[in-house]
Symmetry: C2
Subunit: 251 residues, 2 copies
């Protein structure tokens, strides 16, 4: 499988690209031990993607010849943001890695009344950096052309206020799963237009309180169930993203 | 959320049930600290499920009154077996836990030519026991009425020979994902009859060899892609089970 790199720069005007990015140089020279004339995939801003041949590589920089643009679209047809209350343990890492593989567009993590974990600003900043790295690696590994962004909210109200930035907001609500509400999720996802923005909100292990659900509903969120089985906090986002892919990419 | 227990026995004829199961007694008395008159859910053989009230509990045994049968069906409408080549690290644990939450009916693990991990018979037996425990816990947690079984195959050929026990066999094949074959999975899952048996076969990190895919095809397996993104060995089964739930339970 061909190695791919996110250059985090615009695509060049000509057919040659030169990078001095230390991380990329280190990875290509010391980890992958690439040689001249080998091929990699370069992903530039706006998901512009090129099959690229290594012309020269030294500790100072690497020169590529851009051989052919790759136009295949591997991104989900909806822009899906996964918003999750802080879960226990290292589940944030799992949610980020797996949801990136499954096509999430961005992440928003926030405290809720039943979150066991508390994160001060400093810890959140550190966590954000490490999750961004995980999102980058998972994007490369799953051949995506977009790297999800990661944001932390300081409180529950600011999450609710962000709802206005999305075309639809769905809240996974365990009680909905229990009473058998399963068709709403399908119909909303099916009816959205290409590239519209969908926010999916997930609670912590103990679920949202009824008050929190009501606050979200006041900001026009819709409660949905995700099938008849009870899913863990880190499994529910994977189910939802796979379901979106099934509805919009497989059918 | 009400605690549930798999009794591994037939449901009693009357409305009283008595257990001397050590693990259950320990969990109820020492872990959950249940008292008389509290309620739990008991799941008997053939998924017969009762809301049950604790009448008495001692170190010798627990007596329940069966209050009301719970008839809600939480099992996937297809019996899905997840067959996975040995993956690296503790991914078997993850595959078992998450796939149980997502409705898998049973598991079959096997060596393939590109599996890095080798398991001798003794290790496989030990692994089987620990995975059965994980499947049991995940079933309880996700409120299922069936606990998936776990089997280990000694070689690749015996997996292929087992194909005849299923109504359909689908192989997740990365090359199919690359060439954009995504509709086959949907149409097979949609067309199967209720309670038919579906085997989903997943390769190790490096994928199956072309020879292995051909051997499976000789045993009537169908290659399918699971959407346009490349999924890790432990993510692909979760995607497939979520997709089956979406097609058969949400639509």
């Amino acid at each position: 499988m061909m190695q791919r790199y996110f250059t985090k720069t615009d695509s060049p005007i000509g057919s040659v690209y030169f990078t001095t990015d230390d991380e990329m140089i280190h990875h290509m020279r010391n980890v992958m031990r690439f040689k001249e004339n080998e091929n990699v995939v370069l992903v530039f801003n706006e998901a512009i993607t090129f099959l690229s041949r290594i012309q020269s590589l030294t500790d100072e920089g690497i020169t590529f010849e851009l051989v052919e643009e790759i136009k295949k679209n591997v991104e989900l047809p909806l822009k899906v943001t996964i918003a999750s209350a802080f879960p226990k343990g290292d589940k944030l890492k799992w949610i980020t890695q797996k949801s990136t593989e499954l096509g999430a567009s961005s992440f928003a993590f926030f405290p809720s009344s039943r979150s066991v974990v508390k994160l001060d600003k400093k810890k959140a900043m550190k966590k954000k950096e490490s999750l961004e790295k995980i999102a980058m690696e998972a994007s490369e590994q799953s051949h995506r052309t977009h790297v999800p962004t990661v944001d932390f909210f300081g409180n529950f109200s600011s999450v609710c206020e962000s709802f206005k930035n999305y075309d639809k907001v769905l809240v996974a609500y365990e009680e909905s799963a229990k009473i058998g509400e399963t068709t709403k999720f399908f119909s909303v996802v099916q009816d959205m237009k290409e590239n519209e923005k969908l926010l999916l909100v997930f609670g912590p292990e103990g679920g949202f309180s009824e008050a929190e659900v009501e606050e979200m509903e006041a900001f026009l969120a819709i409660r949905v169930g995700l099938g008849p089985r009870i899913l863990r906090a880190e499994t529910a986002p994977m189910y939802a993203l796979s379901a979106i892919s099934t509805i919009r990419e497989l059918m």
